[in-house]
Amino acid sequence: MADGPSTELLKTALYDRHVAAGGRIVEFGGYALPVQYAGIVAEHNHTREAASLFDVSHMGQVVVTGPDHATTIAALEALTPADLASLAPGEMRYTVLLNDQGGIEDDLIITRPAEGQAPDGVMFMVVNAARKHHDLDFMRAKAPADIAFDLRDDLSLIALQGPRAAEVLAKHTDITETLGFMQAGPATVGGFAVNVSRSGYTGEDGFELSIANQDAPALFDLLIADPLVEPAGLGARDSLRLEAGLCLYGHDMTDTVDPVSAGLLFAIGKRRRTEGGFTGADAVLATIAEGAKARRVGIRFEGRQPVREGAELVDADGNVIGKITSGTFAPTAQASIAMGYVPAEIAREGEAVTAMVRGKPIAGTIVKMPFVPQRYFRKPA
């Protein structure tokens, strides 16, 4: 069956490994994936202390092919607000797909292949699992006919995340020495051809390894055999990314939220803010000029009680002024933390906010994000 939704859960190439390792399987983005193995808190803490292995094969790996580099870049710059023309070979950039109203259709990472890795005119892209078919339809409809978008269902994606991830990977390849945060390139890991990128969504140093489906289980076995490495599931991934202050599509950003409100201005290249020329530019540039009405903020609540997605934020008179989009009791921060939207006039550090949980007010304060310092590995210039 080609592109399209299926009622039956899809399995990644690592499904049997998850079951064998004691993973508790749940549905996520149409896939059967482990929410946890030993426990979310233990996996979360292990990722912050050593290194964890996550199966992120459900995400959409897309190869974009055009007649030459300039044509492909022009097509992708018409689709997204990123400054892609400035990407050097082997560099990657986080950005968003926008609709005509400036709403976020998805967030994604676009990579320029390393020197000699792919023919001229090819770019790589990783999009969210639940959005991949939607994104392909959206991009194909808007892009010129000479730009092809191929969803690479034949590839798996394994994330190795944590402060000791580089030490682990360096036992099998020397590419770790050359890559800084948001850089990528081809490597041989354990005899397998892998595209390695120094990226992830946990706030820690780490790598994402793109590999042929048939080789993925053996690569998983190789890395998990390292005493520093434990498998981790979707639960830990969610608490880690929340502590890192990172947005989750469908929760902290949706197709009715613009990137200015979402605090994702960094996803819009500086040059693009003056030049425009991307889908949704009129709306987004107007919002930049006028300022957003509501903004995403980080909130730290008193006590241990989690304040979860959907909880309302109220003012002193009990009027609803905003809503929580992600929240939990965070294992590393050891606090009840959340992200949510509040009116722009109070969207600053130190403002008091109140959330309602089961009819009870919970006092909180707007704080700077990330909640836990990010530890990306940036190469010295």
Binding site: R304, P306, T328, R358
Partner: protein, 121 residues
């Protein structure tokens, strides 16, 4: 002293008219790491099936229902600082509240150990 279970995985261990309520080992395994417990007020009265407490894991909140009708006589304050006691020792240190039973006959409607073992098998 007998222990009975609800289909929602609460247990009530009774000594005379006092019942100690918590969640089963099976339930704590299903919930995963518990990070917060919303305890009832001492003196509050509940009917069988009323929502009494809330147990929250990293991922979700789960309501705890009164297994039998009664009045809360004591709450496990230790859970405020250490909610993980429910994971490590659900049947003993991880108890949630005690209540004085309004109608001991209500226990007859609950499962015994063997029936509960079948229920979760």
């Amino acid at each position: 002293m007998t222990t009975r279970y609800t289909t929602d995985h609460e247990y009530v261990r009774t000594e005379g008219k006092i019942g100690t309520v918590g969640i089963s080992n099976y339930a704590q395994e299903q919930l995963g790491d518990i990070v917060f417990v919303e305890l009832p007020a001492v003196g509050a009265s509940f009917k069988k099936g009323d929502e009494v407490a809330v147990v929250e894991s990293v991922k979700a909140a789960s309501e705890i229902y009164a297994p039998v009708s009664g009045t809360v006589t004591e709450i496990n304050e230790a859970l405020s600082d250490e909610p993980g006691l429910i994971n490590s020792d659900p049947a003993a240190a991880g108890w949630i509240f005690k209540l004085e039973l309004a109608d001991e006959a209500e226990l007859e409607g609950l499962m015994d150990e063997a029936a509960y073992a079948d229920h979760t098998a």
